[in-house]
């Protein structure tokens, strides 16, 4: 589905993809591991370049691992941003009006319906 196309994506999108993989892993990752996590057509050198750039920006930190580095995201003061944003956004019961959320709350029947849809498709 994607291969060579990944190399041609805008730098910002590649940075976002690498950053998401680091956050999802929850443990320091080497460039090779990040490449494997992404499972895409990115070359290992490209991943290493992106990680170095993110490190220069101060978005990720790194530690020695073997002959290279393992990278991990820089955390903010524990959950401070999250708390601030959520208290503000949760104030309205009708939160979707401000921002387009990825998924709305499910109603009780929705969950079964969703599972049926996914099973039926397999």
């Amino acid at each position: 589905m994607k291969d060579a196309r990944d190399e041609r994506r805008p730098a910002g999108e590649l940075e976002a993809a690498v950053m998401a993989a680091l956050w999802a892993a929850g443990a320091p990752l080497t460039p090779g591991r990040v490449q494997a996590e992404l499972g895409s057509g990115l070359a290992r050198t490209t991943v290493a370049t992106i990680l170095t750039r993110l490190h220069e920006k101060g978005v990720v930190d790194r530690e020695r691992q073997g002959r290279g580095y393992a990278y991990f995201p820089v955390q903010d003061a524990p959950g401070l941003t999250a708390r601030r944003m959520h208290t503000e956004l949760d104030r309205d019961t009708d939160r979707e009006t401000v921002l387009a959320r990825f998924v709305a709350q499910l109603s009780p029947g929705d969950e079964q319906h969703l599972r049926r849809l996914l099973e039926g498709d397999d």
Binding site: E15, A17, T81, V98, A100, F102, S107
Partner: protein
């Protein structure tokens, strides 16, 4: 004249049904445009009609008639109809303005907070990650556009599904869907029936972003599973939703998943035509409102002695 002014108040009640039909029959991106433009036009006609009713009532009062330089009494249907109608219109307009201002204030504040917090966080590309145990993700428009995703959401998805989520949110930002949502919000405060249309517009925006993401990744199933997985992950956390909510109805999320999994179909031209019944309803409403306002203006000119009756 006054009868014409009532049409823009009644016709929006047809909008929810016709709007759902529009979304069902057209491509989501097209439907989003048609729905939003119609909602705004219906809301505008409704406000104009209410305004004309309020003025009619005011000009019946001697003090305002003198202020409006009326030399003859304004010709209207019976006072038993015009005065209560004017009072009701005043009440409805005041209520609309109040709820609109309150909602605008709240939403601007919430949006600003989200924006400041996102700008304070270091960004990788357009992604802003928030450490939180609640799976959540949204598009945050502005300069530059951002995608805000919580760590719980990132962890509940695989890498391909994360890309699907990003593609969806980027589609929102690129297409400027926040303008459509704001327009829907504005319209919803002008007429109670347009609240249901607001929900349809929100759903159309989600569907449009889903389709854009599906086209970009070339994999409809991937988008469908990403949505389903994200929704189920969000549902696992305890919810404050009352359990007596109707269980039989299908919410927006399963509908989006079903639409992505269903084979794409082209509709015959005749069924596509009925999609534009909403436009017909809107045009009728705007025409009636405009005719009513023009007629009202003519009556005022007559009462001012500037035009022959």
């Amino acid at each position: 004249m006054t009868a014409l002014l009532l049409l823009p108040l009644i016709l929006p009640f047809l909008a929810p049904t016709l709007g759902r039909r529009t979304l069902d029959r057209l491509a989501p991106a097209t439907a989003l445009w048609v729905l939003t433009a119609s909602a705004l036009a219906l809301a505008g006609a409704c406000v104009a009609a209410l305004g004309a009713l309020v003025l009619t009532g005011l000009l019946k009062l001697p003090a305002f008639a003198a202020l409006g330089e009326l030399v003859h009494p304004l010709r209207t249907p019976s006072d038993y109809f015009v005065l209560p109608a004017a009072m009701a219109a005043t009440g409805v307009l005041t209520l609309s303005v109040w709820t609109l201002v309150r909602s605008a204030f709240r939403q601007t504040r919430a949006f600003r907070t989200a924006r400041t917090q996102a700008d304070r966080r270091p960004a990788a590309g357009d992604l802003c990650v928030i450490e939180s145990p609640d799976p959540d993700a949204y598009a945050l428009p502005g300069r530059p556009h951002r995608i805000v995703v919580t760590t719980a959401m990132l962890r509940s998805l695989g890498s391909a599904e994360r890309e699907a989520l990003f593609a969806h949110e980027r589609a929102h930002n690129r297409a400027g869907h926040h303008y459509f949502l704001a327009a829907a919000e504005l319209a919803a405060h002008c007429h109670p029936a347009l609240r249901a249309t607001r929900a349809t517009i929100r759903f159309a925006a989600e569907r449009a972003a889903d389709e854009a993401a599906a086209e970009l990744t070339g994999d409809r199933r991937l988008i469908a599973t990403a949505i389903a997985r994200a929704a189920l992950a969000g549902n696992a956390s305890p919810s404050t939703r009352p359990d007596f909510a109707p269980a039989a109805t299908t919410g927006p999320v399963p509908q989006r998943v079903a639409a992505l999994l269903a084979p794409t179909r082209t509709r015959p031209r005749t069924t596509r035509r009925t999609a534009f019944l909403l436009v017909v309803c809107t045009v009728l409403s705007v025409a009636a409102g405009a005719a009513g306002v023009v007629d009202f203006h003519h009556e005022v000119e007559v009462a001012q002695g500037e035009e022959a009756p």
